[in-house]
Amino acid sequence: MSKQLSLVKSTVVPVNIENIDTDQIIPARFLKATTRDGFGKNLFRDWRFNNDDENQPKPDFPLNNPKYHGKILVAAKNFGCGSSREHAAWAIKDYGFDVVVSSFFADIFKNNALNNFLLPVVVSDAFLNKIFSAVEKDVNAEIEVSLPEQYIKILATGEQESFDINNYKKTCLLNGYDDIDYLLSIKQDIEEFEHAS
């Protein structure tokens, strides 16, 4: 897992479906593992395969369409709702994505993604539609996502939009820090808080 993010330039995989819940991203029956690895092969399992059989791929699903590939997953609004399973973020990252773009993310998923160096980028509905149309026109259309400068750009048309991320998380992602490193560094404050209350 790459533990640092900065500039991602890539073609995209579009999944134009709303309210994609984490049960679709990774069904519960694949949550029996006790490690973080290998979830990518079951990403969107039941949308990718008929009868739970890898030899029966559903040709219409974008992940099965060889013309789509890249490090950026683009999905319709309310992505990642439902279960808090971080396995969803692990599966997406393990499959090879570094960025997920949507017009709306569920809260817990967003945190889980950030904690795994998977960047959730929130764009306007209008910009999301522009991305979907750009890919429809040209499957090789490239998107550039810059974390340092907080913009997302459709390279073919030059259209771009800025996105929000809090400064603390941005620093973590750019430098490969995680929250535990930070919290351990303020352990004294935590102990003082315990004494005071």
Binding site: S83, S84, E86, D107, D179, I190
Partner: protein, 466 residues
């Protein structure tokens, strides 16, 4: 300016605020279970860290346990390893485990309240989105991911940015046959599966205050189904009476101190909310979902929306959902055949739910061809049901009383609904494949589920009660 219930608890738990970032919140109690904790313990080991405050962590096995023959070794290897891993980790790190076979074992959101661990004014987290359940006690309770589980194990703190605040007031009296599950399904159908994303929700109003603790938990439980970070209800005498005398509840002088504090936990009259929604309890009828997210709910006498009633933009998702469910736009929902009935999950598996079902089905028989699973939320609920003779009523009705666990709520163990079959379920999610690949779920209250068990179809329970 006055403070809301949420702000009172939040302010008391902020260890530190980070400029332009989240706040560091102190967590009073951390519940863990077998599915979302193993990778967190691995992470701790990799960093060479102990669990910072093991006495503030409580563990149980629930998601991935069988619900029959719990005394035997778990058959499926991966599940057995997962449950064993929890046991090993708890031993190694000094954490209390209410595992299989323990009289306190059960679904994490059922046992916390029932043992008196969940108390007003606390911060509670668990690697499970339905942690919002505990908010029924006036508790700030968040579902978290595994990295956050690791974070809390390591430091007893969580990083959170402050959510916006929403209050939902439900005023008036509930109609016959309408229970708390219908209230929350109604609310979600109004504001959609993402309508409260980014918010902490407080439920208020006379209809909420009249509810028992079990019923309040059902409501807070499903807050996450509209995207809310948490749901909460101000504690009152009903709350205090529920907690008093429970295993881990404060006693003696400690009780008096606790009570004095708990009584300060309400939203001040001039507290500010970013959004407020008012609902008339009389508008709510028994609810049922027809689609594949919990926002797709209708009154049982209603019909699946016609295509003309759906926003152009939302048509593809709507049609995909109906296709999955095998339903036609505009169709009546009443009379739809069901194959399975599942009464269980952290939403509706408490003793009150089982009592409600038992008093309705007493002397009745399940319909032919319907399979009915009752899965109690905990060992204590199971025992209580037996003490009260509820198990006999179920047996006579042809229902199967299983052992505690999450079961067909998420279809992780062998309790799955077969592909294409319809299940009316008291759980909280009707997502595609949630109860098994290609299983079709109708969410409803325990009362509506019990009615369907007797008739074999989606039924308006109001027609079956005096």
């Amino acid at each position: 300016m006055g403070l809301s219930l949420f702000e009172k608890i939040w302010n008391k738990h902020v260890v530190k605020e980070i400029e332009g970032g989240p706040s560091v919140l102190y967590i009073d109690t951390h519940f863990i279970h077998e599915v979302t904790s193993p990778q967190a313990f691995k992470g701790l080991e990799k960093r060479g860290l102990p669990v910072f405050r093991p006495k503030q962590v409580v563990a149980t096995a629930d998601h991935n346990v069988p619900t029959i023959n719990q005394h035997l070794p778990i058959k499926e290897e991966l599940s057995r390893i997962q449950v064993q891993t929890l046991k090993d980790n708890c031993e190694k790190f000094g954490i209390e485990l209410y595992g299989l076979g323990h009289p306190y074992q059960g679904i994490v959101h059922v046992i916390g309240p029932e043992l008196g661990i969940t108390q007003p004014g606390m911060t509670i987290v668990c690697g499970d989105s339905h942690t919002s359940t505990h908010g029924a006690f006036g508790t700030m309770a968040f579902g978290i991911g595994t990295s956050e589980v690791e974070m809390v194990l390591a430091t007893q703190c969580l990083m959170q940015s402050k959510p916006k605040l929403m209050r939902i007031n439900v005023e008036g009296e509930l109609n016959k046959g309408v229970v708390s599950k219908d209230i929350i399904l109604y609310i979600i159908s109004l504001i959609s599966a993402s309508g409260a994303t980014g918010y902490a929700v407080e439920y208020a109003g006379s209809a909420i205050r009249s509810l028992s603790m079990e019923a309040r938990m059902t409501i807070c439980n499903m807050s996450i189904e509209m995207g809310a970070r948490c749901g909460m209800i101000a504690p009152d005498d009903i709350t205090f009476d529920y907690i008093k005398g429970r295993e881990f509840a404060p006693a003696g002088e400690k009780w008096d101190d606790a009570l004095a504090y708990w009584k300060t936990l309400y939203s001040d009259a001039d507290a500010k909310f970013d959004k407020e929604i008012n609902i008339n309890a009389a508008d709510i009828e028994p609810m049922i979902t027809y689609g594949t997210n919990p926002g797709m709910g209708i009154g049982v006498s209603g019909h699946v929306p016609a295509l003309s009633e759906i926003d152009e933009k939302e048509k593809p998702s709507f049609e995909k959902s109906l296709h999955y469910m095998g339903l036609q736009p505009g169709a009546n929902i009443k009379g739809k055949k069901v194959d399975y009935v599942f009464i269980g999950s952290c939403t509706n598996s408490r003793i009150e739910d089982l009592r409600m079902v038992a008093s309705f089905v007493k002397g009745k028989q399940k319909a032919d061809g319907v399979e009915v699973w009752i899965v109690p939320g905990s060992k204590q609920v199971e025992q209580q049901a037996k003490n009260e003779g509820i198990d006999k009523i179920f047996e006579e009705a042809g229902f199967m009383l299983r052992q505690p666990g999450c079961s067909a709520c998420l279809g992780m163990n062998e309790d799955k609904i077969p592909a294409g079959k319809y299940c009316i379920s008291t759980s909280n999610r009707n997502f595609e494949g949630r109860q098994g690949p290609n299983a079709r779920t109708f969410l409803a209250s325990p009362l509506s589920a019990a009615a369907a068990a007797i008739t074999g179809e989606v039924t308006d329970v109001r027609e079956m009660i005096p």
